[in-house]
Point group: C2
Chain length 407, copies 2
């Protein structure tokens, strides 16, 4: 099987979400992504969620399909090995993705002296190189103060590290863009992406900076209402919660709610053909839909909504998603049951990008830490067996580390 990026080799020095996600996105498209870690693993090695034995399900999730090398980064000889990996020859190599500080042995000028066409993508916290993580950037964006029910005067973080995810994927865009340019000009490239820049970029992209500066509108919490159209959550007769989005006039009438609808339009002097008008009347409209929904089960509501093409979806816990939703099961070609060493077999997603002419690679598990140390030293650096043995003897590299709890 050959993914669309078959043949590309990327070295990854990373921890946590953004950079590992970027590397994994490329690995799941067929690139050979080699992640190096200090012996014993990096800062994200035991990140929660973990199994009872202490194996990180987080690490397993973000490093699927990569090769893993363990190197002593505290010693000059280990650092030299990493620099050699990053700058190893080959037209489809010389690609380095990292969220480690781009200094010392990972300084671009030093590395590109060894391989002038090196492409290095550096993920940092703030644009000036100072530290920031998703959990400190998100509070700054404004989203936490605009999330949750109106009557609660405290900000809510969302659990999803969204800025990390967007940043990680953008890192892949920048790497492929730089590689495209290099294939034409031969020139190397240093790319910087700051997590907080990505967040403030999205705040601007969604019109929220203009909203402050132009309309002087202070966006406040509005529960689960959709902004600028009709959408909110409802409780069904069987105690399920559903999200309902953007009912149109025609859909309203088809549901037999036309008369009340006309009365609302008249009373509130709003044009319910217009989504802005429906937003203005959201509380009244919601109060009218509520009894209609609450006397039906979720299944009944869903059948009627589907028939009339009303967009809706159930609220699910993570458990309900995995247990009940066919989209999150092997019935969806995105997923397969895969054995993760030291953990067991569970449902893993492959790439959500489906190419027609290239193969869709099945999801691959994350490697054991150091599982590919020897083969990478042989493959990429052309070291001999005895050279590799000597590195082991001196503790400069380490092979596969069995997961905790393994006999």
């Amino acid at each position: 099987m050959a993914g669309i990026l078959e043949g590309l080799r990327v070295i990854e020095g990373s921890a946590f979400v953004a950079a590992p996600l970027g590397g994994m996105t490329l690995a799941q498209l067929g690139a050979d992504v080699i992640r190096f870690d200090p012996i014993g693993g990096g800062l994200d090695r035991t990140r929660w969620p973990i199994t009872d034995e202490g194996v990180s399900l987080f690490w397993a999730g973000l490093n699927k399909g990569k090769r893993s090398v363990q190197v002593d980064l505290a010693r000059a000889e280990g650092r030299e090995l990493v620099a050699a990996l990053v700058t190893a020859p080959g037209p489809d190599a010389g690609l380095f993705l990292t969220n480690f500080p781009p200094r010392g042995f990972l300084d671009y000028a030093m590395l590109s002296a060894r391989r002038p066409d090196l492409i290095m993508v550096s993920v940092v916290g703030n644009h000036d190189g100072s530290s920031a993580v998703d959990y400190t950037v998100n509070p700054a964006t404004g989203f936490a103060w605009a999330t949750g029910p109106r009557h609660l005067g405290v900000p809510f973080n969302h659990l999803l590290p969204a800025w990390d995810a967007i940043t990680g994927v953008l890192a892949t865009t920048s790497m492929l863009a730089a590689e495209r340019a290099r294939s034409r000009t031969g020139a190397g490239e240093f790319v910087q992406i700051a997590l907080s820049d990505v967040a403030f970029w999205m705040v601007g992209n969604l019109g929220k900076i203009a909203e402050v500066q132009i309309t002087n509108h202070q966006r406040i919490k509005d529960g689960n209402y959709l902004y600028g159209a009709f959408g909110r959550d409802f409780l069904t007769a069987d105690g399920r919660r559903i999200m309902v989005v953007a009912l149109t006039l025609r859909q309203w009438r088809n549901l037999g709610l036309g008369e009340t609808f006309d009365a609302v339009a008249k009373m509130m002097h709003v044009d319910l053909d217009d989504e802005g008008g429906r937003f203005e009347a959201r509380e009244v409209l919601g109060a009218m839909i509520k009894p209609w929904v609450v006397e039906r089960t979720m299944t009944e509501v869903g059948e009627i909504f589907d028939r009339h093409k009303v967009l809706w979806g159930p609220y699910q816990t993570f458990t309900e998603l995995v247990r009940d939703d066919p989209r999150c099961s092997p019935a969806n070609p995105l997923f397969a049951e895969v054995a993760q060493p030291g953990v067991g077999t569970y449902l893993m997603p492959g790439s959500p990008l489906v190419f027609t002419s290239a193969d869709r690679l099945p999801p691959a598990p994350a490697p054991l830490l150091g599982a590919h140390t020897d083969e990478v030293l042989a493959d990429v650096l052309a070291l001999t067996g005895s050279e590799i043995g000597a590195l082991h003897d001196r503790g400069i590299v380490a092979g596969p580390t069995p997961p905790p709890g393994t006999p």
Copy 2:
């Protein structure tokens, strides 16, 4: 100025967030992105936030730096023009990004009959082609049930359309990956990305599917606590809220809180050197930090935290972000004050991807709808002035539409 993707031409047929964001990501790197719309604009033309005159700040935010063409998509002649644009010749063209249904005149087989090496990236709701939007997908993921304070038994949507954002950026990854393959093989490519696949991919990537299947752990709401480490929000003496992340033992001691810290470790039988241990003791630790924070202003707390390298950040509303945060101002090279036709001058972000060898393009405003109709028909389709005039006469195309409120 030449961006890293200078010379690439992408046709975009889109609405709302994901596909327009993907096109804009490429435009901000220097690609020539031509968005076509029905005359008068598409479904997202008036999406909120809007100005008092009804100009969409949302549309302006997601279409920066593109060219715009207005075509009557209801007539065969208009559809033919779009198909001709999508399949127009050129080695760096033949790239089409869309979230319109890939059927009818946008069917890949039909389009690729005209240009066999066409690359088409199709953003859909669910993997089977059925409808879903961010607001119906997010409730299904599990995140809404895990966001917000524990004592509130209702799910919270986050305001950020995170799945749209990740999907839009992934679309650019897939387009560049397919273009890379085409440059080697000459083959075209049809790529499908489903919004809900992207969401469930991330649920899996973050270890939450494994958590359900392997550890049988039901993740519940936990307020603003960080999962698996120490992190939560605090109120300062001057009434500001801040997020504080992952205090280590050493930081604790440096803040003069070492003694109570030791007492907690002893009482709770936890290892506070371990981030999992700090998570288990989060409520006690939080209760101990709280009085320390609440007797200092945010400025005082920030200075002390910065000195001891404690990661923290202020909660800000959108207004506070724009007014107070230098990272969201022209002091950050990401931003510039730009005039948006029909709106006014406000702070716009350029690309958060900073390339060293290519130019960093300054942010460009969104086009007036149809601003480039004539030049694109001339440039790309080589139509003559009189042919273009005839299309206008028959109402097949339209030129620049002045924004509402323009005299």
